[in-house]
């Protein structure tokens, strides 16, 4: 097992440096101050770190070494620093500790402090120098090294036997130190506790603030340690060269007992027995009761605990004690880690006394990056350690029981009592409750997921419900079905060139890129090409929600291509809404397959339900090799349309019915159509005006104006929801309804057969752009026009050619609102025309048009009349021009 993921890097340190350990030790000495010999940052960082844990002011002085001090020695800084500390704090003890910097430049603090004492003639102040290079170890070594140094400096003479017991405390919380003192008091034992941070780092609020809080181990008590009956040192993992107990044994023959921090029943038992045997005092009844209650509690929670898989980390001494607690309660420590270098830990926890089934994984000199990896790998469900482990909770979701130092993201770290029988009980409860909380918040879901098997009926119901929800969601986001979804884009793939019926209003022969109406496309794609184009479009348009097949022929007359295209694209994007439009002839044959393909929205064009009327609209129907005409053809088509519509609707497919309003043919019949399709389950109907496409049988039929159209729609709305925002788009349309950008994705350019290019060479041919909302009367201001109707005059005939949307000539989004660029767009839209007929026009646009050779006619009234007048004017102008020539 590797200690660290990285060789040269420590990522997210699981340790601090020696000086902070030394500070903690000295904070437990009465009326002491601490001076760090080094640069200013070290003391500030340590102060900040400790202040956020203890919530106490932590004053640590610094010699504030600067560049000069570093180069020429820090003597003057150190001495001045000491002087200022004495003046501001009047301490009895001052610790002078080194830092990385002081050690590296070779500061001899022993000598310097000696000199200082002599120079200042100090008598009542003890100055204790201590070497704590930051790179020399962690806070753990710093703590015990400082304690040893204090003993060495203060307990210099063998004092008389005094019957006291020396207690060397591990780096525990002030709360725990108070608890240890309570245990000692319960025994009635005389003791010297080193260090005693119970008051200094958790001071009560008092009226008068003391810069150095009261409390702490007294120097004269430390002097007595040499005459004690024994030393008990909480330091199973402490190396002997930094063990105060070892020093007292070697130098003054004080019997030395190592013990673990009294956390866990076994460790506490040992500590209590040790106290009892050394002091030869019986174990107080109160402790016995506490032990009994702990046992009782351990029994109560043992089964919950046995599910625990814990990661423990931190100071080796604390980690050792907490690991024992886990093990004796059946919590498996899957990883025991410390940032300190410690071989002992492995030995201690692997010892023969352990009869626990699996040996834990133990790593030292590690970092949190590594701990995190193992925590995940070993499936830990609880972590126990200081606040720094929250990184694991945050990233892996494993809950953390806070223990040790620092606890800076919760309050009360300084008051935690986890020692002794009562403390152990509290610690264990915290662990158990964390495990329970995890379990209780998750078990309902996990059990349901694992075991619940809904019966078939319910399953089907559930599925149906889910499907309906899904389809409803898709309807909401489909720009043709919900006006609110107009921001969403759709893409039509022209994969269905063939058609199986022939409508009198249809002409699919040619394409102009500027023309927008059904049946028009710039190119026909294979399913593979369509899929490729889809990927391209999707990468450029982020609001693409709908993939439609709308010809240019009939989607179902090209069913192979349609099916293949849907399958290919579904693989690329399973979430896109598939929709298609059809004349409905083959619907009964393909309806089931369409549903299983996942097509959720289908548009059927039903212009009539009366075969007599239908016969006027449909010239021919090709049904399975049969060619039908007249009423028979219409009857078959209508039957299949309605049959298909009924089936699809009953299966939850959302159906739209398109109706082309053809004046004089079906306009009075449409209401009936709507009523019927409603009965068959249609969701919405879309009544569209006839576009008299050139070359179609209906090319000369009159136009329907918007007013007539909307009146009809309103009438029909009583029966069925109506679509008002249809743009009658192309078979290869891409983008939002209001803005077709298909040409950006097309290779094709305006090719042959286009209306503009079919100009006859007639001298008297003119193209007019008319600003009209209705197609009937000139009623639009030039600058307000959103579309122009293009009419052609030739051979004394006036023909409607196309509608041009101004928005199509947009130059780019950011300019859209700009008035100037709107004018530019309009000018582009009317390009190529001989004249523009408008209600009104501003001076500037008028000038621009004239510069382009476009005649501007400001007029009102019927379009046809205006065109006729305009032609006359143009002729006159031409004649004049010729005359001048």
């Amino acid at each position: 097992m590797k200690n660290r993921n990285f060789v040269n890097l420590n990522i997210n340190p699981c340790k601090m440096c020696m000086p902070i350990g030394a500070v903690t030790a000295f904070k437990g000495i009465e009326n002491s101050m601490f001076l760090l010999h080094g640069s200013q940052g070290c003391s500030t960082y340590i102060r900040r770190h400790m202040a956020s844990h203890y919530n106490e002011p932590i004053d640590i002085a610094s010699s504030s070494l600067n560049e000069k001090g570093t180069v020429f020695g820090g003597e003057s800084n150190l001495k001045k620093g000491l002087k200022n500390v004495l003046k501001q704090y009047t301490p009895d003890v001052v610790a002078v500790a080194t830092t990385c910097l002081a050690e590296t430049i070779g500061e001899d603090i022993q000598r310097l402090t000696q000199e200082f004492i002599v120079e200042e003639g100090l008598e009542n102040v003890k100055i204790i120098p201590i070497s704590t290079p930051g790179y020399g170890g962690t806070e753990f070594e710093g703590y015990y090294a400082a304690l040893t140094q204090i003993v060495k400096e203060v307990a210099v003479e063998k004092s008389e036997s005094n019957g006291l017991i020396n207690i060397i405390a591990a780096s525990l919380s002030p709360g725990d130190i108070r608890n240890i003192k309570d245990i000692l008091t319960a025994f009635g034992i005389g003791y010297v506790l080193l260090p005693d941070i119970s008051d200094t780092l958790d001071a009560p609020y008092t009226d008068e603030y003391r810069r150095i809080p009261s409390g702490g181990t007294k120097l004269r008590d430390i002097e007595k340690m040499t005459g004690a009956v024994a030393t008990i040192e909480m330091g199973m993992t402490v190396p002997s060269h930094i063990s105060p107990g070892q020093y007292l044994l070697e130098k003054f023959n004080v019997p030395f007992h190592k013990c673990a921090v009294p956390i866990g029943i076994e460790n506490t038992d040992k500590f209590i027995r040790l106290l009892s045997s050394i002091s030869q005092k019986p174990i107080p009844q109160s402790l016995k009761s506490e032990r009994g209650r702990l046992l009782d509690g351990m029994i109560d929670s043992h089964k919950y605990n046995s599910e625990g898989r814990a990661v423990l980390y931190g100071d080796p001494e604390l980690v050792y004690a907490a690991s024992k607690l886990c093990m004796e309660n059946g919590i498996k420590p899957v990883l025991i880690a410390t940032g300190t270098q410690s071989n002992v830990l492995r030995e201690l926890l692997k010892g023969p006394e352990d009869d626990y089934s699996e040996e834990p994984n133990i790593i030292d000199d590690t970092d949190f990056e590594t701990i995190q990896r193992y925590a995940k790998e070993f499936n830990a469900n609880i972590i126990i350690g200081n606040s720094d482990g929250k990184v694991i909770t945050e990233k892996e979701g494993i809950p953390l029981v806070r223990f040790g130092f620092p606890i800076h993201d919760r309050v009360g770290g300084q008051r935690l009592v986890y020692t002794g029988y009562t403390g152990t009980q509290k610690f264990l409860d915290d662990i158990t409750n964390t495990l329970l909380e995890e379990k209780y918040t998750k078990y309902r879901k996990s059990m349901y997921k694992k075991y619940f098997n809904p019966s078939e009926d319910k399953k089907a119901l559930q599925e149906e419900f889910c499907n309906k929800l899904e389809i409803a969601r898709k309807t909401m986001t489909h720009p043709c079905y919900s006006k609110g979804a107009c921001k969403n884009a759709r893409m039509h793939i022209p994969v269905a060139p063939a058609c199986n019926i022939s409508c009198n209003y249809c002409n699919r022969k040619f394409d102009c890129v500027n023309e927008s109406r059904p049946g028009v496309t710039s190119e026909v794609l294979t399913p593979e090409e369509a899929a490729k184009k889809f990927v391209e479009v999707k990468s450029k348009i982020n609001n693409l929600k709908v993939l439609g097949i709308a010809g240019p022929g009939d989607a179902l007359a090209n069913f192979k291509n349609t099916k293949k295209s849907i399958e290919l694209i579904k693989e690329i994007d399973p979430d896109v809404t598939f929709c298609l439009s059809t004349n409905g002839l083959m619907l009964p044959f393909h309806a089931e397959e369409l549903i299983s393909l996942g097509v959720t929205h289908i548009t059927i064009t039903i212009n009539a339900i009366d075969p007599e009327i239908g016969a006027k609209i449909y010239k021919e129907v090709n049904f399975m090799g049969m060619k039908l005409e007249g009423v028979d053809a219409a009857a078959l088509l209508i039957k299949n349309q309605l049959k298909g519509l009924r089936y699809l609707s009953s299966r939850g497919v959302v159906c739209k019915v398109n109706i082309v309003m053809i004046k004089g043919i079906n306009d009075t019949h449409i209401e009936e159509v709507v009523k019927e399709v409603k009965k068959c389950g249609a969701f919405i109907s879309n009544i569209m005006p006839l576009i008299p496409a050139k070359g179609s049988a209906f090319e000369n039929l009159p136009l329907t104006n918007n007013k007539e159209l909307n009146e009809l729609r309103k009438k029909c709305e009583i029966d069925l929801k109506q679509m008002y925002h249809c743009k009658q788009c192309r078979a290869d349309a891409i983008g939002m309804l209001s803005e077709d950008i298909s040409q950006e994705f097309s290779q094709a350019k305006c090719g042959g057969g286009c209306s503009e290019k079919t100009k006859t060479k007639d001298e008297k041919a003119y193209t007019f752009a008319v600003a009209t909302r209705t197609g009937v009367a000139i009623d639009q201001h030039f600058g307000h026009a959103e579309e122009f109707y293009i009419f052609k005059y030739s051979n004394s005939e006036i023909k409607f050619v196309e509608k041009r949307l101004v928005s199509k000539y947009c130059t780019g989004e950011e300019h859209c609102d700009d008035e100037d660029s709107k004018i530019d767009r309009i000018v582009k839209a009317v390009n190529g025309c001989n004249a523009v007929l408008v209600l009104r026009i501003g001076y500037r646009p008028s000038k621009i048009l004239q510069d382009k050779g476009i005649v501007v006619v400001q007029t009102c009234g019927r379009v046809e009349d205006a065109i006729k007048t305009a032609v006359k004017d143009l002729e006159t102008v031409k004649e004049l021009a010729q005359a001048v020539d």
Binding site: N8, P13, Y45, S52, N55, S64, T104, I105
Partner: protein
């Protein structure tokens, strides 16, 4: 009684403290080394560099030194990210005794190699620490060769801890940013850079939203919620807007020299300063439309904020505030904020304020206010008691002191979890001050001796 308490000040510190009085024109000494043994609240050069650069979210920050420097600065800033979280890790070469004796260059080179292979970061910042400055590792050379080897930016930061104070660290960070921006002049883009906001609790997002509403685009945020690529685009901006002047003025001046980008100083702390700042930026870069939008925004937001503020004003009127913060700009805004709440500032101090900032502080501080530079707990204690402050504004280290003295506290440091900038920040600030000053607990504290 309390006001007559003498405050003991060390002789070496006397020039750093002054009291604003009608006649006196005493100046505060500042921008100097800390006095040894005074228990300064300042950190070191490395700290200054680290806090400035740390919020760059997709950068790896390697601390070349012993573990302490990295350990104590791991994820301590409440800077938020809208994307990468790389910056929230702490990378250290964790130098040991052997490295100090034989040099740490090899280890550093190895560390950079490892991190680039595993994390593939966009940039690696390498910070020097005290002992690196002493043992003489050439981090410049190590970074250069790593840059060549991996073809990503590896930028050394000369942040040896003892080589000056926090301000030198800011400068080192600015130099690193300049290196990242490169030399070349970039074509201008419409928009500004925002210097000196570190996105504590989402503050830069608040400011960005204000400016967006006015039609002003931020190109680069330095360094709150910024990315490496964003910083590299900074030279294309029209204007630099400087908030944390203490850390960023140097950068702004350099960018003016190198890329011809002018700068303005702003502060989004407090209603008054937020309003002025928005108008200032709008005037500098916007047209009439932007100005109109700015006015509209201010009217809307100020109206909402002042409704809230009014109730706090009544609860806080006449209370006395003490301020001890990092930089001068923050102190200046705070004095105005307290004045707006009807409070009196009785003490103002900063860790690294500049002479010109102290001049402003002097001019706007209330009569009799004590002004301190690079102060320490003993002085803070003395003046808080002497002036009878009801609240202290400061950071983590100052908080326990205020509480032990039995007064309220407002955290204006980098660990806070709620925004204090902009209009909503001004309300949050008032709310926090009110919550602390008017907490019911002080009743028990004041009666402490009579209770039992």
């Amino acid at each position: 009684m309390k006001s007559n308490l003498p405050v003991d000040i060390l002789d070496d510190r006397k020039d750093f403290v002054c009291c604003k009085s009608g006649k006196g024109d005493g100046k505060v000494k500042c921008d100097s080394d800390s006095v040894a043994g005074s228990v300064s609240q300042r950190a070191c050069v490395y700290c200054g560099a680290r806090v400035v650069l740390n919020p760059i979210t997709d950068a790896v920050h390697i601390v070349h030194g012993p573990i302490g420097c990295a350990s104590y600065t791991w994820d301590i800033r409440g800077s938020l990210s809208s994307g990468p979280e790389t910056y929230r890790n702490s990378f250290s070469t964790d130098l040991r005794e052997q490295d100090v004796i034989f040099g740490g260059e090899k280890k550093l080179a190895g560390a950079i190699d490892e991190i680039i292979v595993k994390y593939s970061p966009k940039v690696v910042f390498v910070y020097s620490t005290c002992i690196v400055g002493v043992i003489g590792d050439d981090i410049e050379a190590v970074c250069k060769s790593a840059e060549k080897k991996h073809s990503i930016r590896v930028i050394p930061i000369q942040s040896t801890g003892f080589a000056g104070n926090k301000s030198q660290g800011y400068k080192a960070a600015c130099n690193a940013l300049l290196r990242l921006m490169g030399e070349s002049i970039q074509p201008k883009v419409t928009g500004i850079n925002f210097l000196g906001d570190f996105n504590l609790a989402g503050e830069i997002w608040i400011v960005e939203e204000y400016l967006k509403k006015c039609g002003i685009n931020i190109i680069t945020k330095i360094t709150g919620d910024s990315r490496v690529e964003e910083i590299m685009k900074a030279p294309s901006a029209e204007l630099n807007v400087v908030q944390c002047a203490g850390s960023m003025t140097y950068l702004a001046k350099e960018m003016d020299k190198r890329f011809g980008i002018p700068f303005v100083k702003v502060s989004f702390y407090g209603l008054e300063d937020t309003k002025t700042s928005i108008m200032q930026i709008a005037k500098a870069v916007g047209d009439k439309q932007v100005l109109e939008k700015a006015v509209e925004l201010i009217m809307d937001e100020e109206y909402k904020a002042s409704l809230m503020l009014e109730q706090y004003r009544q609860r806080l009127k006449g209370k006395r505030a003490a301020i001890y913060v990092g930089g001068g700009f923050k102190a200046i805004s705070l004095i105005k904020q307290f004045a707006d709440l009807g409070m009196k500032t009785v003490m103002v101090g900063t860790q690294t304020g500049k002479a010109e900032e102290y001049e402003i502080i002097r001019s706007i501080a209330d009569e009799g206010a004590v002004i301190l530079d690079d102060s320490n707990p003993a002085e803070l204690e003395g003046f808080i008691k002497q002036k009878g402050a009801d609240i202290l504004v400061g950071g983590v280290k100052e908080r326990p002191l205020a509480y032990k003295l039995g007064i309220a506290f407002c955290d204006h440091n980098h660990e806070r979890k709620h925004p204090l900038c902009g209009f909503e920040g001004a309300v949050n600030f008032a709310k926090e001050v009110d919550m602390s000053i008017n907490s019911p607990i002080w009743k028990f504290v004041k009666d402490e001796n009579k209770c039992l």
